[in-house]
Symmetry: C2
Subunit: 579 residues, 2 copies
């Protein structure tokens, strides 16, 4: 804040000059006291300068309405929406989300520091405040080949940006446990600045949470059970309850929230498709769910605003009070969080079902040629089963990041072929950053794929190509198409490309308008219906997470088939002594 | 934290190396969830490394006991205890207070930056973590002469110290209102660093609180009524409930605390005599009072620990959890907060009713010659009443910083003489920093002084000499004695010095051991009983606050008699049109 701005605000606060805008006669959500206030709100130059009687150049009668602080998404990967910051903000505004804490982990794993810098640069001057946590695990683990490697010193240079709030999700628990020096330096660079460090405590035991907290890690958005959340809570972590497109933990965790522990819970989406935001919303949707569950509406709003602000030391958002930015949601109804309009720093950015912010034209997308791999030939995806009749299979669980590691007995065969009756198809990961030629092929159960192949460059966290298929030919074809279009999602069958959804920015994000992305996604899902038996889950997101070796139980990377049960790579075929 | 320390902690957290100490079988106060946990606590190199099963080089069976985080005093002026940081920490430890947020406002007003630096330097290597807020108002106002002037740029240089957490109580509301550039720079230097700014909202209206908050001020410890506290709370301030030696706001405010707003309340002492800490304790006393009032013991402890830590962004104190310092209070009983022992960073500093920390020998006190004034002669304290028979009188209120401004009709006289029947005696302030010769004499009611004079160099905030007396001779005598001894408290009567309590450090603090100070204070009070009719209040502290022109209603400084009702200086004699 500048001296001139503060002067201007103080003059308005004391009534010496008029406010720009006064919101009159509404009930204000008082997140500090947990109740409603009947008071007017004076706004000047984007800030609330007072609750009480003010005169404004513009005055808005909000009789019967409610004023909530706008909402904060405590942890989100913008890349997972498939859209740019601009498009993300365009779809978030109408849902009252005007602050996000983003982790550019995906693009960092593909493009490195340049990727993070692009996210920061492209997030400016939008009606959403984008804050960034610095991606701590690039590569995410040593179990895969990523597009970049970011060490502590490179990351440290990024703290010059005001929008950087700390260190992003620390998922490499082994690096922490083993006191890997570079990891410890990353932790200390954040800790010694007094900044927040996000955790990634998926499946971690209470003993491992001790280690996490000892390292200074202060949040976890990976709790899927109440007992896990309670343990993290008691050990000093904020629990970020997540409701994304695939991972939906709200129902499992909300019952843990009480008046006594409410302050340490916040809401996040983590990974969410832009279509979900458009259709259901994001944090607003969670606030509504919380009220439906039985929480006091003000408490639900606190979890979506003040609590996140406190967790990340944001002192000017998350409340309707003087000294705070006028980032506000005007509600027709409190209990249903029925959004009438949204203000960002005192300017209406959404009202009467329409955006009021001028989103400028489109810019050229960067990172168009991020898919670097050798052209694949037939025979790339052979699984040799000679000498064994047991196989390790990845069994997917719908709407979960977790998989099951199952061991099946099969009829003897030289090499594996898809068995559609048993719902066993091939899955492969193809390295696409450095042309290493690295390919792993394994077997997956649960997709109910009935024909062709589906391939994508979105595969957490290194974003190599992941492909599933009933036959090798379509798998090869789909992968080669991805290389040609610079990444995205491709469906192939019977030797043809049925659909391609280009994600030209690093193979992760589209530069197209959100509605266009949604339309393409709609088309993609239409075509998907012709290759999957039953689509009661999102096969693309599910596929994208099968490559994440930090999450149980059996995952696949370009380096092999990885079991978190034995913490090692294993073979597809086995002699029934493992797992 | 260093890399080596973090490595060492992580190794202990994962059980690879033994803990230094394991506290076994106690109930741990979980300030995050608001409940008790049955778990062991592993401690290594001063930090908690885990809750759960740990092996330690030393293991302590605490069956039947409770482990609370040690307590935090959210706002205290060490100088008001009359003792040094060392002695303060020596008496605080046994009460479980091992973190304080101190404002060196008093010594800053006498000695300037040098005074603040002395406080920082003398607070190191003690079993209490002293954090400092930078005194924002030196001088406190333009209504008095202080010993120093500290501008924004001088203050800014002090942020290099890790122990500096923000800007201390902003009491000069006029400077904020009037957009005084130096004040705004002080505010911005803290605000733009994301640091906390303490307020001083004594008597401020809701409109003025809007201004305060707009300026970025985030705490208030001057609430004396529930309505005030509610207003501050709703506008985003932390309310620091104060229970000091004079100002006792606990009873008035505690009824406002609910499960919904608890997180925004903390405890502080502000100004407390060392004898009170020794006898009753400080924050521990407030925790006890809160439980007696009916609060859940864990909630009471939260107000005395986690809440303050959150308010001041202290991430390693205020909870019993891994990643936190092992600053712990072991309790024999939770409800009565019966302290068994106290640990500071894992070392026992108090147990079995004895201190276990080696407080080294005494150092030479600085600032011995801070009383700089001309030798006073008889006639210094004349009040001319010719032509008027109405007088403005300061009426003191026992155990309150607030005074009443009363107007009395008196028999005609040329100059005022004390009227002991009506309890009207003289009060004077003598400038003592720059030999300006500035003296103001006025009339005070309520002390029930029956003979002699009482003078002190402790007079908030500029710490000129303040003296009351039934006769001029003893008043002059007492003031001259103060000059001779370098400041302190003096009682004189019938031409003799009855008692002198030297406060040789800047006229504010004694270098003596706490017990010695208490003994001297005891003697002082014994002698005081011979000059006051009735001592059901502390006349010295009360006297010290009569010079504080930021607090209602009528106060006295070296520049004149100041009324907050008219916001101006007024005469003692008046013609009944004022006030």
């Amino acid at each position: 804040m500048t001296l001139e701005l503060m002067k201007s605000l103080i003059k308005a606060a004391k009534g010496e000059t008029r406010c720009d805008l006064v919101l009159k006669n509404a009930h204000v959500v008082d997140v500090f006291s947990g109740k409603l206030l009947k008071t007017d709100v004076g706004i000047r130059k984007g800030y609330i300068v007072g609750l009480g009687d003010y005169k404004g150049n513009h005055e808005l009668d909000l009789t019967g309405k409610f004023i909530s602080p706008s909402l904060i998404d405590a942890h989100v990967h913008i890349e997972s929406t498939l859209s740019t910051c601009k498009e993300f903000s365009r779809v978030s505004c109408p849902h009252g989300v005007t602050t996000v804490i983003a982790d550019p982990h995906e693009i960092a794993n593909v493009m490195g520091i340049e990727g993070i810098q692009y996210m920061i640069d492209s997030s400016r001057n939008l009606p959403v405040d984008f804050h960034f946590m610095l991606s701590s695990c690039v590569p995410a683990t040593n179990k895969e080949t990523s597009g970049a490697r970011i060490d502590a010193s490179a990351l440290n240079a990024l703290y010059i940006h005001h929008c950087v709030l700390g260190l992003a999700e620390v998922m490499d628990i082994d690096a922490v446990k083993d006191c890997d020096e570079d990891m410890l330096k990353k932790l200390l660079n954040a800790r010694n600045r007094g900044l927040t460090i996000d955790g990634h405590g998926a499946g971690l035991t209470p003993e491992e949470i001790n280690i996490y907290r000892t390292a200074g890690i202060t949040t976890d958005h990976e709790c899927v059970k109440k007992e896990e959340a309670q343990d993290r809570l008691s050990k000093g972590m904020y629990v970020l309850i997540r409701e994304g497109t695939v991972a939906k933990d709200f129902d499992a965790l909300i019952g843990l929230v009480t008046k006594d522990n409410l302050r340490r819970f916040a809401f996040c989406t983590d990974d969410i498709h832009i279509s979900d935001i458009l259709e259901k919303g994001s944090i607003d949707h969670m606030v509504r769910k919380a009220v439906e569950y039985g929480l006091d509406p003000v408490d639900a709003i606190r979890m979506g605003s003040l609590n996140s602000a406190e967790c990340y030391h944001l002192k000017e958002v998350g409340a309707v009070a003087p000294g705070y930015k006028a980032d506000l949601v005007i509600l027709d109804d409190l209990r249903t969080f029925a959004i009438n309009s949204v203000l960002k720093q005192g300017k209406t950015v959404y009202s009467e079902n329409a955006l009021k912010f001028d989103f400028n034209g489109y810019t050229d997308p960067p990172f168009r040629n991020s898919v670097r791999m050798r052209h694949l030939e037939h025979g790339s995806f052979t699984i040799d089963l000679r000498g064994t009749d047991w196989i390790n299979v990845i069994r997917i669980l719908k709407n979960s990041l977790v998989t099951e590691h199952v061991s099946l007995h099969i009829a003897q065969q030289n090499e594996f072929s898809a068995d559609l009756n048993e719902d066993l198809v091939k899955i492969a990961v193809v390295e696409r950053h450095r042309e290493t030629g690295g390919i792993t092929t394994a077997i997956v159960n649960g997709f109910r794929l009935k024909r062709g192949a589906v391939a994508t460059t979105i595969s957490h966290d290194s974003h190599n190509i992941v492909v599933i298929g009933t036959n090798d030919y379509d798998m090869v074809n789909a992968c080669n198409k991805l290389q040609q279009i610079g990444g995205g999602i491709v469906i192939a069958a019977e030797g043809k490309i049925l659909y391609e959804l280009p994600l030209e920015i690093a193979g992760l994000m589209s530069n197209a308008p959100a509605e266009e992305i949604v339309k393409r996604l709609g088309n993609l899902h239409e075509i998907a219906r012709t290759v999957f038996t039953d689509l009661d889950f999102n096969p693309f997101l599910t596929l994208s997470f099968l490559t994440l070796p930090v999450i149980p139980e059996l995952k696949i990377t370009d380096k092999g088939l990885y079991s978190t049960l034995v913490n090692d790579f294993i073979n597809v075929g086995h002699d029934n002594r493992i797992p």
